[in-house]
Amino acid sequence: MSLLYISIANRLLTYLNILVFQGFILFGVTFLTLNKISTVNLILIMLETIVFKAVAVPWFINYVIKRNGITREAEPYLPNFVSLIIVTFITVATIILSSSIKDVNLDKTFFVVALSTIFTGLYLIVTRKKIITHVIGYIIIENGVFVLSLAVGNEMPMLVNLGIMLDIFASVLILGVFFNRIGDLLKDPDIDHLRILKD
């Protein structure tokens, strides 16, 4: 649902609220599915989903938006209606795709959600004009990857867990730091300014 909503949402603030919402959903889902995990692991996952995904990242993006005085419009290249149709199409396509897969080790529902989230994230990156929406699209992809790792294994080995932590750590750190810098150098952060390097 939240994916459909983000495809038509116009204001950046709505995007952030959706991120928060997704963070909580992720926590709920993990909590319900991982019933045989240790307390330490649970705390780690809770830290990651609630504190990190639902609070810290949206807060940070909000801070960047305020600091750089980014306008609230999301400025998509395509009209919202088309976006809505495309995202619906992505979801339907992944459902069809996953119904053709037969595998006992795979949780179908999660697989559908994960794939559609990843593709919607990619779609968002391609069709939005602002750099900050690219970052948001990337974080949505990350959420999709998180769900995918749930789909792949219920016991969730420590390695996968560690991988996600590292993934988020590096991506947000890098994206965040550089976005701060971009804001300093460019008063109007549109990707149109980042078109000098080409052949």
Binding site: I141, V152, L159, L175, I182, L194, I196, L197, D199
Partner: protein, 476 residues
């Protein structure tokens, strides 16, 4: 030894970041170089002995590690020259950051070569992204920012792709009832893996690592990076970092080669390789920026390497030889480019010319580098390219072979017309009084690297051939 090396490298890198004294800075660099060479020497003598559970210096890893040592030492020395002599606006802070990230990049690349576990490879590839982005952003201007932003974003997405690929790989492992994700267990149990998930996983991992190797689809980030990074850093990005991508893809392909999916993987790689050569041709025939031209030449060579790998037979041997020789040749072009920039203060082909007049020794390096990079006969790459063509011929890929040959001819034309403009045709307007005198010693390291490439190709020592043959054995 890997543990000692890693701890040492991290300590040195961290110390460099916070240290402000020039003397300490360069002492640390000297210590690091010594450590690196000792490390390379040690691993060379301890092939195939597992260390710290996740690392195993096998033939391909050791081969690339030794190549890294050979390249890294001159690059660090030129980095020192770059910072000290010709950059007036350097501060102790920016210098520390530059060398700190350079040390981090070199050491994480060398660990990637030796890692025998896909997750460890993934973690250190991520560290290379981090350190490379600090190097690209060295000049702190708008264009460097654009380059680093694109690099970071594309690398972040491709590293996520690799992660998705690893998840799929773990699915396919689980179907086979294995939970050990080291490459050794993957090779041993390859035939038991679920083919559907393995296919998906290879596709994602391959796409992800193309950002480092420099192939279609993710090659774009690397071009901007090599253009905007200072030339010594560009030399690293164009050689050892590409090798890190290569070794990861090579290991994954080795897993595929033990299954029935090898043919399918070959098709994927041929498509990627051919498209890369095509893209390189398109840009190299019309490009006006010398540094970017070198970067696109790297894309072309990586396309050839992956074609050789996919063709199989003698092609696998040729592609490993090709990547080692490319590691020696490309940095020498980038290092020499630095002097070109000191002379003309411009990257555009319109502002340069008559380089023979202003820096005779350097011009000879550019000329020899051009011959080497386009694989004309005295060049070492001639041997490996010839073997790659032979393998394509033997694999009955005649149509691909003809296409590649036509594209390569166009590349030589584009590359050559720019290089000869740089070397012989006088520039339109130039203030000759401002041109600095460049010492011939600056070109020494490039002569050594280029000469080494010729030597290794035409008179390879037995041990070098044996290492490559051992590396080829990974692929059945």
């Amino acid at each position: 030894m890997i543990g000692i090396f890693l701890i040492g490298a991290f300590v040195i890198s961290g110390w460099l970041l916070y240290n402000r004294s020039g003397f300490v800075n360069y002492t640390l660099l000297a210590i690091f170089m010594a450590l690196l060479v000792i490390f390379g020497f040690y691993e060379f003598n301890h092939i195939n002995i597992k260390e710290l559970e996740f690392f195993k210096p096998d033939a391909i890893g050791v081969l690339l590690l030794v190549a890294l040592c050979v390249v890294a030492v001159p690059v660090i020395i030129h980095g020192y020259r770059y910072i000290e002599v010709h950059n007036v606006d350097e501060t102790p802070k920016s210098r520390g950051l530059f060398f700190g990230s350079m040390v981090l990049l070199i050491s994480s690349c060398s660990v990637v070569y030796l890692s025998s576990h896909i997750a460890v490879t993934w973690i250190f590839i991520e560290i290379t992204t981090l350190s490379a982005s600090a190097l690209i952003y060295h000049h702190r201007n708008l264009r460097a920012l654009e380059g680093v932003w694109k690099y970071v974003f594309i690398c972040a997405i491709s590293i996520t792709f690799v992660y998705i690929g690893i998840l799929f790989l773990s699915l396919s492992l689980k179907d086979a009832g294995i939970d050990d994700m080291s490459f050794e267990s993957l090779y041993a149990n390859a035939s038991k893996l679920n083919p559907f998930w393995l296919k998906l996983s290879f596709l994602f991992i391959f796409t992800g690592f193309t950002a480092k190797l420099g192939l279609v689809p993710m090659y774009t980030a690397g071009i901007d990076a090599k253009d905007k990074a200072p030339a010594p850093a560009g030399a690293l990005l164009a050689s050892i970092l590409m090798n890190a991508g290569f070794v990861s893809i090579y290991r994954m392909y080795a897993v595929m080669s033990h299954t029935s999916l090898q043919q399918w993987a070959n098709t994927v790689m041929i498509v990627a390789g051919l498209l890369s050569i095509f893209v390189a041709t398109v840009y190299m025939t019309r490009i006006k920026n010398i540094k970017r031209m070198f970067a696109y030449s790297g894309i072309e060579h990586m396309g050839l390497v992956i074609l050789g790998l996919a063709a199989g037979g003698i092609g696998v041997y040729a592609s490993i030889l090709h990547i080692v020789l490319h590691t020696l040749i490309k940095p020498s072009l980038f290092l020499q480019y630095n002097q070109v920039y000191w002379v003309y203060q411009s990257k555009s082909i319109y502002d340069v010319g008559d380089y023979f007049k202003y820096n005779k020794v350097g011009a000879i390096v550019i000329f020899l580098g051009f011959i080497s990079a386009t694989a004309m006969p005295p060049s070492g790459l001639f041997i490996s390219e010839f073997l790659i063509f032979q393998s394509l011929f033997e694999a009955h890929n005649i149509l691909i072979l003809i296409t590649v040959l036509i594209l390569l001819t166009m590349i030589i034309w584009g590359f050559g017309s720019n290089i000869f403009k740089l070397l012989f045709i006088p520039p339109l307007s130039i203030d000759e009084t401002k041109i600095p005198k460049i010492s011939s010693w600056e070109s020494l390291s490039q002569f050594i690297l280029l000469g080494l490439a010729v030597y290794l190709a035409y008179n390879p020592p037995m041990i070098f051939v044996n290492l490559i043959q051992d590396a080829v054995k990974l692929i059945s």
